[in-house]
């Protein structure tokens, strides 16, 4: 086998040390079609020297063939990789690109602006630390800017660069720039961004992309690249509570039973107590196994295999978590959904929900309302259309373990999968478990107390169990009395059986009937949101 000789003169060790010290920043770029996004990214790649000669030669050829720049280099062509994109001159799909400077390594999710492909933008945003929102200086904020800002905020991005592009076309007007920035800040007050940095740009000419522009003497902020190099994004994953969804149970032989997974947050040491969810069993970590060595500690971002000190039943989809700050477990969740399919989402629709490594059948119990992306207002609806964001309640076939999305992205985000096409049709964020029994909001709007409501609260099996718990004790007593009085076991058994059957059926039927009648129910139980919000504060 090949044995690599140790590094000699070239200071590879130095180089590696520097390379390893670089931090990674994931960011997305979003904007409407033609705001100049592709041009901007092409420019960033070009200026950060990520282009080789052969790529440049190809770019020149393409620019002559498809370019919009009259034969000179069209940077947009660097990034529009699909044939249909080049034909239509739009970006359809999210593309991932890589470049690095001396300070940082960057992964850019270049996401499409076209409304039809917003789902691809949401994908890029789900793992990004920073978003660059591109705005055409001539047009100012558009409906699409607002949509993107909302999605970016919803998916948990806290740092936004407002890249106001094509400043050359408005004579680098400071007034125009200030006005757009102010309008955005006003719009975004409730979106929870930590920081909004507005930068005037002309991507086509490279102004303020990498080098400061000589055109805008009034601007003394960072260029876009230096912003990306210095923006501080908290790496809070390892101060969060420990979570590891189990992906794979590793059993090479009878002596080894390991649970393989990716640590999504926090850290765990060998010997530490952990809880398995949804079962709730408590045990401790015996070993943290990797092929290289056994570790004392595993931290967020590592893929490891844990062995546990007790024989507990664990399968794929379970979560191993810290004992103190627990994961929630429920079979009913409140969630925000970003709906992506063309058919509408309706109450009663069924899907497969994938969260962490768990996949369970799920049913939409209720669609509360849709968020109007332009006005940031809730609109009551009972279905969601393509690219709508709305609040829903989902009922799951089995309880799953999760966190609220605002607390943990990787254990609070999920997808819905269509049960026939198997397409991914929705992106979801868990807001919490449905703790108390809620009544359909429709009832609240409808004031007739005798309205026959769609049953959502008590499940059938609960009614059945209630009937049994109430009736069986009574029936046992009846049988006892009958035996004493009649001295005939067969007669007593017949009496008992008749009583059990008739009363069970009657009680059950009665329960089911009343579950549909609103009379006497407190309206307050219909308020959604209050319960789950307050109950899960830790």
């Amino acid at each position: 086998m090949l044995v690599h000789s140790e590094p000699e003169s070239f200071d590879l060790e130095d180089y590696l040390a520097a390379h390893e010290r670089k931090s990674l920043l994931r960011f997305i770029t979003c904007g409407s079609v033609d705001d100049g996004k592709s041009t901007l990214i092409g420019r960033l790649l070009f200026e950060s020297k990520r282009l080789f000669d052969d790529q440049l030669a190809a770019l020149e050829r393409d620019s002559r063939k498809h370019g919009t720049q009259g034969g000179s280099i069209d940077f947009a062509l660097l990034v529009d990789g699909l044939a249909s994109e080049r034909e239509q001159g739009i970006t359809i799909d999210v593309a991932y690109r890589f470049f690095s400077t001396d300070r940082r390594t960057f992964i850019v999710a270049d996401t499409p602006g076209h409304e039809q492909y917003t789902r691809n933008m949401a994908t890029g945003a789900s793992t990004a630390d920073v978003a660059i929102l591109l705005i055409d200086a001539r047009k100012g904020l558009t409906r699409q800017t607002r949509r993107h800002a909302l999605l970016v905020s919803m998916l948990g991005i806290r740092h936004v660069a407002l890249a106001i592009n094509k400043m050359d076309l408005v004579e680098w007007s400071e007034e125009q720039f200030d006005q757009i920035a102010a309008e955005f800040r006003a719009f975004a007050t409730n979106l929870g961004f930590d920081q909004i940095t507005a930068i005037p740009l002309a991507a086509l000419h490279g102004d303020n992309v990498v080098e400061p522009s000589s055109q805008a003497a009034w601007y003394d902020g960072p260029t876009l690249l230096s912003y990306l190099e210095i923006v501080e994004v908290e790496q809070k994953a390892d101060t969060e509570p420990f979570r590891m969804p189990v992906q794979w149970v590793n059993r090479p032989n009878a002596d080894f039973r390991g649970f393989a997974g990716f640590v999504t947050s926090g850290r765990v040491r060998s010997g530490e107590r952990v809880r398995i969810l949804p079962s709730g069993l408590e045990t401790s970590v015996a070993q943290i196994v990797t092929m290289d060595r056994e570790l004392n500690e595993a931290v967020a971002g590592q893929s490891v295999t844990l062995t546990l000190s007790d024989e507990v039943d664990i399968s794929r989809g379970d979560v191993i978590a810290s004992v103190e700050r627990q994961v929630q477990v429920s079979d009913r969740i409140e969630a925000r959904l970003f709906w992506m399919a063309t058919e509408h989402l309706k109450e009663g629709d069924q899907f497969l929900l994938k969260l962490g490594a768990a996949a369970v059948p799920a049913r939409v119990v209720r669609v509360h309302h849709r968020i109007d992306l332009g006005l940031l207002e809730s609109v009551p609806v009972s279905s969601l259309g393509a690219n709508d964001v709305g609040h829903v309640v989902l009922a799951l076939d089995q309880p799953v373990a999760f966190d609220r999305y605002t607390e943990s992205r990787r254990t609070g985000g999920f997808i819905l999968i269509d049960r026939e096409s198997f397409d991914t049709v929705a992106i979801g964020l868990v807001d919490g478990a449905v703790v108390e029994q809620t009544v359909s909001p429709r009832v609240i709007r409808n004031n007739a107390p005798w309205a026959w409501i769609k049953w959502t609260g008590e499940q059938k099996r609960r009614s059945a169990v209630k009937a049994m718990s109430w009736r069986v004790i009574g029936s046992v007593a009846t049988v006892g009395v009958a035996v004493v009085l009649t001295q005939d076991i067969r007669l007593a058994a017949a009496i008992g059986a008749t009583e059990v059957v008739t009363k069970l059926v009657l009680y059950y039927g009665h329960e089911r009937l009343w579950a549909r009648i609103r009379y006497g129910l407190s309206v307050a139980t219909g308020q959604h949101g209050g319960g789950p919000q307050s109950s899960s504060a830790n």
Binding site: L2, K22, S84, I92, D207, N250, G258, F262, M291, Q302
Partner: protein, 328 residues
């Protein structure tokens, strides 16, 4: 086993850095390096794919990316063996050293290696020299791969492709769905938020899974170095017999390569940056005989570019002027 140098984990002592080791040490303790993160992500992807498919396979092309992929598979399922076989689609025109390396690795690791060659192609004697690269590649690679996947009924296949390789690759998902005819529909790609991969598929559909999606060529080399991963010796410079064809340096790997009248193979110091069918793969002249040399070469290619541009950037003039001066 491949063990050589052990991969660092967060907590374990690292070799001291040559300069300002104090601050460096502190930083390293607090987090994972870029390579650590890439490795963990790839392992996560492999485990997801195996858990979500019935009959997975790894496409093993013997190149450096495949070597990294295989190494990651060993890590992902350790202490178990990777729960899937390796599949090599053999065009019969691979470098001899590649085949020797392939067989040796499979034997050493005790892995299940399947080798498939398109029998129709063999019968028709299809080859790159007689039929040209296009026909050869289509029949002996593309068709052959489909045959093999269908023959064994694989529903998920790992590949070593990277997004930085090519523009359309940059748009491909980590879990890439193929219809019953193995076609990719870029408009029907599934969103993958939070690395939640959807591995469900209908009858006849299959998945291609790309655990190295987010790696760059440089990452691959740095990782091979860090993990001491065995690779085919052809990646290292040595004196080898070559002929020059259309500006490409072609290794005379066996007697099937017809020499033009009067043509004499010359011995030159060369190495390969990628490996494929030998008559279609050009070598580069190089003296990089070790991994550090290769890494330096990769970096220097970039440095010289940077140099050229650094001069241009001295003047305040932006792209505009460079264009006017006919920069491109």
């Amino acid at each position: 086993m491949i063990g050589g140098r052990e991969a660092e984990s967060v907590r374990d002592e690292r070799r001291p850095a040559p300069h300002n080791s104090l601050s460096l040490d502190k930083e390293l303790r607090s987090g994972l390096t870029h390579l650590d993160r890439l490795e963990a992500e790839s392992i996560y992807i492999m485990r997801e794919a195996v858990a979500e498919s019935d009959n997975p396979v790894m496409l093993y092309s013997i190149g450096k990316d495949s070597s990294v992929l295989l190494h990651l598979a060993l890590k992902a399922f350790y202490p178990a063996k990777p729960p899937f076989p390796l599949l090599h689609v053999d065009t019969t025109w691979k470098f001899r050293e590649m085949i020797a390396f392939r067989d040796r690795r499979a034997r050493e690791l005790g892995l299940d290696l399947l080798v498939h060659t398109n029998p129709d192609g063999l019968a028709r004697n299809i080859g790159p020299i007689s039929h040209g690269s296009e026909v050869h590649t289509d029949v002996m690679k593309t068709q052959a791969l489909k045959q093999a996947l269908e023959r064994y009924g694989f529903d998920a296949a790992f590949g070593g492709a990277r997004r930085d390789e090519e523009k359309s690759r940059a748009k491909e998902r980590v879990f890439s769905l193929r219809n019953a005819h193995h076609r990719w529909d870029p408009k029907r790609q599934r969103p993958e938020p939070w690395q939640l991969y959807n591995g469900r598929k209908r009858r006849g559909e299959s998945l291609r899974v790309f655990p190295l999606s987010n790696w760059t060529e440089l990452d691959i080399w740095l990782y091979i170095h860090r993990e001491n991963i065995p690779i085919v010796p052809l990646y290292f410079a040595a004196e080898r017999p070559v002929v020059e064809r259309d500006g490409m340096l072609i290794l005379v790997d066996d007697e099937r390569l017809p020499l033009h009248p009067g043509e004499q193979p010359q011995r030159r110091a060369i190495r390969f940056r990628t490996l494929g069918c030998y008559p279609l793969t050009g070598a580069v002249e190089s003296t990089a005989a070790t991994l550090p040399d290769i890494i330096r070469e990769t970096l220097e290619a970039r440095t010289s570019e940077r140099h050229g541009r650094a001069i241009d950037k001295d003047t305040a003039a932006s792209m505009e002027r460079k264009k006017q001066e006919g920069y491109f």
